[in-house]
Structure formats: structure tokens, C-alpha cells
Amino acid sequence: MIAFLIRRLIGAFLVLVAVSFITYLIFIKIPGGDPAARIAGRTATDANIADIRQKLNLDDPFYLQYWGMMKSLFTADLVSYSSQLNVVDQIVSGIPATFSLCIGAAIIWLFFGTLVGVVSAVYAGRTSDRVITVLALIGLSLPVFWLGLVMRYLFAQDHPFRFLPDGGYVPLTTNPWEWFTHLLMPWGALAVLFIGFYGRVLRSNILDTINEDYVRTAKAKGLPYRHVLIKHVLRNSMIPIVTLFGLDFAAVLGGAAILTETVFDLKGVGWYAAQSVGDLDLPPIMAVTIYATFFIVIFSVIVDLLYAWLDPRIRPT
């Protein structure tokens, strides 16, 4: 187990290096024009450009350029030149909003995704299964930002039946109730997509597992159906869901909820990246991309360990 862990950690480290190198290529090498001028943004002065050139070692060979980018990201002296604000500080200040959004939404989508999957698998082929399948497909087809806009229009604008506050984020420590009501719509919007997706994946997993020999044996032993379903079928069908969930959760924590955060004006990590897109301000996007990818890589190690714990067959020896 220790050897497996060490091997997995070394692998993860190599992926991190490769991924950050790709980020370097995306921002410094691939686009045309002078990288320093591009990174400095629209309102840059010559001094800004010279500063970037020096900080990111842009006059040096590529490995020193890469090193300069990583150093400025991890020593927290990367500055967004359109706002003159420190990028790492801005990301850190966005973390509470992002985490509140993602953890709440994840609870909702896991719960309802499992419910939807189990119900439609147990009633496979019947009307309730068909209705759920259609709803799940509609959920998968909704662009999350559009759903958010429509929700805001319906529930938060100046209507007689307005009952939710319109966007923004209130810290949990300031006012828990306000925190909750402000997050209800974003949670719902973000969860809808995943509920549809998880429900469908779980449904087909359950239908695959339900025909296995050990399930028939369990039924033949006379175990109650509910017991077979939960202990034998669901436990095995949930394994792929664990992998899926680990990666999706890491991605949204890392800022992949960028559209939800933007639509609901939740000032989180993704919102910060989205603001920079409009200003063509590259350092924040660069930092958020690396930050998100690090989350995903680290979570994938955790998922692998969890996987090994859930499924003895793939437990490393």
C-alpha cells in the first residue's frame, strides 16, 4: 500500500509538472505577438511590460521562462496588471464562496443523482423510469448559465412571487441565513447538470450489476430485496460514481463552476477568472487554471486510494 501510494504521488508530481508546462505553452508560447505585452493587458505601461519580461525571464531560454512563471505563481508575486491586485490574494479571497457553492451543490447532486439512478433502475422500463430519463436528458441539455439566468428572472426579480435574494455572496460567518438563501439558487443550478448525468450513469451501472450471479445468489438466499439492493447492488454500482464524483468535485472546487459563479455574481475563484476574460487579463486565468488542475490531480490520488478501499479486487498488493 505504501509503495502504491509513493508511486502514485510521484506520478501525480510528474503530471503537475507537465500540466503547468502546458499552461506555460498556452499563455506564453502558442499565442502570437509579444507575451509580455499580452500578459500586461490593455492598460499596460512600458514599465509594466519590462517588469513582466524580467519577472517571467522572458528574455531567457524556455526552461528559465517556465521556472519564472512557476516562481511568480508560488511566491505569490504575480500581479494582474489591469487591476494592480495580487493574483494569489484574489484567488485566496475567492475560496470561501467557491467552497460554499461546491460543497452544497455536491451534497445535492450526490443525493438526488443517487436517488434518480436507483429509482429509474428499479423501475426500469416503466413510466416513472421514462419520465426520469426524459428529465435527466433535459437536465443534461441545459446550459448552466442560461438556467441560472432564468432562475434569477423567475425567483429573484421584482415579481409578486420573488422569494430569493438576487445573486451575490454573504459569508457564513456574517449571517448564516443570508448565506444559505443566497446560495440556494446557485446550488440548484450547478447540481441540475450533475443530477442528470450521475442518475444516468448510476442507472446503467445498477442494471449491469443487477444481473450478476452474486446478486441472484443473495436473492436466492432469501435476503430482503431492499437489503440486496443496498448492500450488494448499490455498493458495487457506486464505485464508478466515486471516481466521477472525485474528479467533478475537484474541478468545481478549482473554478470549473466559473459559469455558475459568474451568473450569480458569487465572487469566487471561477468568477475571478471570468472577470479577467473580459479584460483579456491573463495572469488570473493562468493562476486559476493551474490552481484548478492541481486540485484535480490531488483529488485523483485520493480517489484512487478510496477506490482501492471500496473495491478489494483492485487493491494494490
Binding site: P31, R38, G125, S141, L149, T262, M286, T293, S300
Partner: protein, 359 residues
């Protein structure tokens, strides 16, 4: 060979069926069988029809603009009026006090007219006085171009790399799989935003390809690139298991070249999966494009797309909700039609079709 359907003991029901229909047994390829299953799935076919209608409507955006709406997608009609049921109505309200003593807020565009204005402003106007229906069709054209174009690039590239990786194995497989892993490690939307934004400043000028900053090819290429592992990985897995089958061995033993084995033996066997993945990836690409354009990292103005239309309407969701809601409905209908059809296609092509389980 004709079968006498009056024979008392026909055990072969397929033969009996054939006898009823045409009086002879024909060899049926898996494609014919799949088509027979699909033909009975009216829901899937209905949604395919819906998708075709949307594509055709968007293809005739120019005709609609010149013949029905009499305006282009970027024509500004601020301060103009149009005839509605014989009365003159301003395209964008001027604001101020009316003669009756009421107050009208300024700058509010006219709402959906449907057919009351003789084909003008069917879905209303935006704050520049531009015709939303015209922009919707032109935007749809761009969204579909990017969605379908990137799906083609993505599928072709993923298919090629998956074939090479699974056929040759060894270091080729290692290299291609690691490239998939690396792209996979990025969150799709963030990687697309990073690439889209970085390339929207000065365009792309490498490998002999020169793309200007506002080119539609940039979002197309970006979306195709970020989704490669999502298509390539499942394909590679399938080819890997086919690779061990006897028919590949037989072909190799007969002296077939590697290209021949890949194209003649492996490709036909994964064609159905490719087709299903292709349908579903168009749907996901259209959503990704909309998200990218909504954030300003996809299709660049003045080119409209469904995503930029929603972004434009976002700030006017209270006074002019149709601006954001109508393009969204267009996206949902298009993506839903592809998802439902793709699902039906998979059911028809997948002979295992475990989906319908009897308990």
C-alpha cells in the same frame, strides 16, 4: 431461395417474417438491423427531425434576413419605427412622458411581435434595435458551425490517435495515452477558456496555420482539442479489446498491412461507437461553445452566436427577458434533440442493449 410460408412447421421465425414480407431471406448487415430498430423509435426520429429543422432554418438565415425581416444581423435600427397592425411603433422606446400622462422608460426594445409586424421583429429587438430573430438564426449558424466542426475535428483526431495507440501498443500507446491524460487533467471549460482567451488576442500562427484573432476556427479548434481524450479514451479501450480478436490475427496472418488492418478490420467494428460518440459530442460542443462565448472566450463579436446573444441579454433580463431566454431555448432544443437521438442511436446500434431489463 423461396420459403413456402404455408409449411406447417416453420421453426425459423426470421424465415417466416421474410416470407411474409418479400418471400425470400436476405442477408442483413448489423447496419440494416440497427436501422430496423431505430425506425421503430419514433421519439429518437422525431428529435432527429427537430435537429434537421433547426439546421435548415439556420442555413437559410440569409434568406430569412433579406426576404422576411428585411434587415441584416448587425443592422442597427435605433430611433426608427416599424408598422405594427397599421400603427407606427418605435423599435427602441424613447422614454419620457406620454400624452396620456403616463411614463415610459427609455431604451427598452420592442418585444416579440410574432407575425403582427409582417415578419419584422418576430422575436423582438435588442437594445441596438437589431432584429433578434435574424441574429438568432445567424448566431445559430455560427454555433452549429463551431459545434459540428469541432466535433468532426475532435472525432477524426481522437479516432486516428486511438487507432495508432491501440494497434501499435508499446511506446506509441504510452505516449498517446499520456497526452490524453494530460488534457484530461485540466477542467474542460477552464482549459478552453485559457486557450480561447490567449488566442483571442493575437490569433494562432504556428505549423503553417494562420488564424486571425476573431476567426471562428479558434473556438472550433479549442473545443475540438479539449475534448479529444473524452472521445479517444473509450475508443482506444474498444480497439484494444478488438485487437486481440481472431479476425485481426487472421488478417495479419494473410499478410494484410497495418494500415489495412486498421482501416479494413478495426474501423468497421468501431464505426457504430464513433457514430454515437460523434452525435453526443456535437451536443456537448454546442453547450461548451455557448459557455465560452458567454464568457467572451469563444466566438468574438461582431459574429453572433447563441452564447454571445445570451451574454448580451443578461443585463436586460428584467426589461427585455426575451433577449436571453430565446437563444437559450434554441440551445436547449438543439442539444436535447442531439442527446435524445444519440441515445436512440446507441440503443439501436448496441446489440447488447441491456437498457431494457425485465424483472
Amino acid at each position: 431461395m423461396a420459403t413456402d410460408s404455408s409449411t406447417d412447421f416453420t421453426l425459423d421465425s426470421a424465415a417466416a417474417l421474410a416470407a411474409d414480407e418479400r418471400g425470400e431471406i436476405e442477408g442483413k448487415s448489423p447496419w440494416v438491423l440497427a436501422w430496423r430498430r431505430l425506425r421503430r423509435n419514433y421519439v429518437a426520429l422525431g428529435f432527429l427531425l427537430l435537429f434537421v429543422i433547426i439546421v435548415v432554418l439556420c442555413a437559410f438565415a440569409g434568406t430569412y434576413a433579406s426576404q422576411v425581416a428585411h434587415t441584416g444581423p448587425n443592422d442597427n435600427h435605433l430611433g426608427e419605427t416599424f408598422t405594427r397592425d397599421g400603427k407606427q411603433v418605435p423599435v427602441v422606446s424613447k422614454g419620457g412622458f406620454t400624452t396620456g400622462g403616463g411614463f415610459v422608460a427609455g431604451g427598452i426594445p420592442v418585444g416579440p411581435q410574432l407575425w403582427h409586424a409582417g415578419g419584422r421583429y418576430v422575436f423582438g429587438a435588442d437594445n441596438q434595435g437589431r432584429d433578434v430573430a435574424v441574429r438568432l438564426l445567424y448566431g445559430g449558424r455560427n454555433s452549429l458551425k463551431v459545434g459540428i466542426g469541432s466535433a468532426i475535428f475532435c472525432t477524426v483526431f481522437a479516432l486516428l490517435t486511438a487507432l495508432l495507440a491501440a494497434y501499435y501498443g508499446g511506446w506509441v500507446d504510452w505516449l498517446i495515452s499520456r497526452v490524453y491524460d494530460l488534457i484530461w487533467a485540466f477542467p474542460v471549460l477552464l482549459l478552453a477558456i485559457a486557450l480561447g482567451t490567449a488566442l483571442s488576442i493575437n490569433g494562432f500562427h504556428h505549423l503553417g496555420i494562420n488564424l486571425a484573432a476573431g476567426s471562428l476556427w479558434i473556438p472550433t479548434g479549442v473545443i475540438a482539442f479539449v475534448l479529444i481524450p473524452y472521445v479517444g479514451r473509450p475508443l482506444r479501450g474498444q480497439i484494444l479489446s478488438l485487437r486481440e480478436k481472431e479476425f485481426v490475427e487472421a488478417a495479419t496472418a494473410q499478410g494484410a498491412s497495418s494500415v489495412r488492418v486498421m482501416i479494413g478490420e478495426l474501423l468497421p467494428n468501431i464505426a457504430s461507437s464513433v457514430l454515437v460518440l460523434f452525435t453526443l459530442i456535437i451536443a456537448s460542443n454546442i453547450i461548451t461553445e455557448a459557455g465560452l462565448s458567454f464568457l467572451g472566450a469563444g466566438v468574438q463579436p461582431p459574429n453572433p452566436s447563441w452564447g454571445t446573444l445570451i451574454a448580451d441579454g443578461q443585463s436586460r433580463i428584467v426589461t427585455a427577458p426575451w433577449l436571453a431566454i430565446i437563444p437559450g431555448i434554441a440551445i436547449v432544443l438543439t442539444v436535447l434533440s442531439l442527446n435524445v437521438f444519440g441515445d436512440g442511436l446507441r440503443d439501436a446500434l448496441d446489440p447488447r442493449a441491456k437498457v431494457r431489463v425485465e424483472r
